[in-house]
Amino acid sequence: MPEEILLMDKITKVYPNGFVANKDVTLSINKGEIHALVGENGAGKSTLMKVLFGIEQPEEGKIYIKGKEVKINNPLEAIANGVGMVHQHFMLVPSLTVAENVVLGMEPKKNGLFDFEEAVRITEEAVNKYNLKVSARAKVEDLPVGFKQKVEIIKALVRGAEILILDEPTAVLTPQETAELFVELKHLRDQGHTIVFISHKLNEIKELCDRLTVLRLGKSVGKAIVADVTEQEISKMMVGRDVVLKVEKTKAEPKETVLKVRDLRIASDTGRTIVDNISFSVRKGEILGVAGVEGNGQSQISEAITGLLGFQNGSITVNGVDVKGKSIRRIREMGVSHVSEDRMTYGVAATSGVKDNVISDRYYKKEFNKGLLMDKKKIEDLSDRLIKEFLIKCDDRDRAVKMLSGGNMQKVVVAREFSNNPKLVIANQPTRGIDVGATEFIRKRLVELRDEGTAVLLISADLNEVLELSDSLIVMNEGHIAAYIPDASSISDMELGEYMLGVKKQTPEEIARVAYD
């Protein structure tokens, strides 16, 4: 008989603006299991976990840990009750070392001073015990995302967390890092820890989790043993209808070249070469996928094309016009749209409303202005239309974007970028953190844009996504193009993986084929 370690009983959470994010939600978790919490964007998963971690206070409902009722008023009390949380957005201090981040708030002292060596020892003890390989003396800002996450997990564990909440931990990880994380999480489970795991990727849930609970529109609508249900069934429980995970797509009919990148070289602020002399082209009416482990120069390419980042050598032209030295607005007016992977920095103005965000790239245009004033009616019509069309869950077009759920923020970005009649779309991780239903929708829209004659550059760490959507494909490795695959449907996952990891590489001639005029 499994022992119930946590029971959240009939939790109701109403945000100060009157929005009911959780309504009578019940969540029961057994000791030593990995329990998945799934649901569409805005279903209330993060909210429920914030209640458990003491960040939000529920209006109604009770929480029992090991059969005893507890009141959790703040994160400190959650920690005292053995609950630890790895947040959707990391809670780390970049300029401090790993050890300093780990002991922050419970610093060891010697002679009144902070004892750094002791902090290192505490960290290394956890590193060894839980097999989470990360260097205690490294600065957090120098670590790749996967390692930052390990630091977060260690932070929770050294504070004695028995129940570990992971809110979309894999959204920012590469497939390799995800695999590593899963090994570590299973190891933790075997040591008796209990894990609550939130993800939109159903294959991950199938692979990792024991049981699952489904939330829909703030209510718990189902529970299941993972082994007993298929991915199709899970998504049906989440969305309430059948979801087509496969996108229907005809063969591309590429026309003239829109984007031409030649001998592009980009260096970082510290002088490291990030993108090393690469050339490629994207044609009207095709989707060129860029596969590769994240951090191999993909983001810099997309930022260079859209004018966010300067580049040192080479040229980038869009429909024959050089983008070098042009302002971002000029580049956008050439028909370039950009879905940035970093939605909080480049995607949205978090404290502004949905309406202001969707018109932020066109508010100055004649059609939205009447003389000196903005045309309120037109702007409102447009934002209402986009909210409806892109299924953005918000109760009001003036709702501040930061109050939306992670996935709905992404939809705000996509709505703006896909609706300005783009000639070229740079889509960098367009479906990151988005639920299955909305992912299906965004992928369909991308294919529709292509069919309408838009050139699409699709950058994604999600292999399924690149393979499924792309017509042709380049693979990035350490700032180089490692391979060009003219027909994306002809390559297997395995082979792609080998190019991504740099095990295999095409000849320069083969790669040069992607630089047509």
């Binding site: 400190l76 990391f90 300029s95 610093e107 902070f114 260096a267």
Partner: protein, 340 residues
Amino acid sequence: MGEGLFSQIFDLLFTTSFAASILRVTTPILFAALGGLIARRCGIMNLALEGMMLTSALTGVVVSAFVRKAVLGDLMPADAAYEAVSGRAVAAGAAAGFLAGVLCSVLMGLFLAYMAVQLKANIYLSGLAINTISTGGTVFALYLAAGEKGMSSSLNSCTMPVIDIPIIKDIPIIGEVISGHNIMVYFALLCVPLVYYIVMRTSTGLRIRAVGENPNAAESVGVNVKKVQFQAMALSGLFCGFGGVSLSMGYVSFFSRGMTAGKGFIGMSAMNLGNATPIGTTIAAFLFGMFDAMANILQSLSVPSQFIASIPYVATLIGLIVFAIQTDRKTKRLKEKHSK
């Protein structure tokens, strides 16, 4: 006139008294910069440095004068016991003035924290408001205490002692430059490693840095963010208060209206130029102190005084611009070098 003026300038600048005056002039700037440093490390731009210094300068003078008077009682210089009591009175007055001035600045730091952290008022506006209140408030208080609106010279206030460093004072040149300063000069130099230790080596310092960089992260592990911000602002006020009393109880023994003359803001710029690191901040403070000292010395020449008075501020501005350009160039160079 050109050539004559330049040789005059050179004669003035290459003297031990000029070198010594750099140390003297830098002291309040350095204190203010250290105060600004701690505030900035915890994420608060303390624009009130100027007003806090000014108020503590006045408080120091007034309290020291009162305490001195109280200790002396009715004794007159002609009295026999005067000699014996006078020394004690000055010492007590100086100590009390020092403590009161510093305490006043600490309280103002806490008040600013209360405004910005607790009541969530805009930190820049709150800081500027404190400066404005201090400018007028000190004149008003001065009038109440001394019956004057310009200077406190009618008050018999005390100064901190001057220190002759043994051995060093006998070395030619070096002795003249380094020895024989007011104790606050040496104390300022001692405060540099002190601030380094507080910020970089104590757990409070670690929390201050964490809160300054990512308050959410600090909060999520149970750090009391508000408390840390109050602590940092109290420390900021402490160092700023040292700066204030060093102005009115160091080389001069009076308070005059507006006597900070922008030193708080110059300290602020030094801290920014030094990127809030103790060493960088100190170097920048000395740089600005040098220009300030230069302006003092050049006043004896036939150059328009308005021009000379503007030197430290223009130097500050140029310093900030050069720093920004340098940083920009450096990254550019790095990028170019690697893209050959």
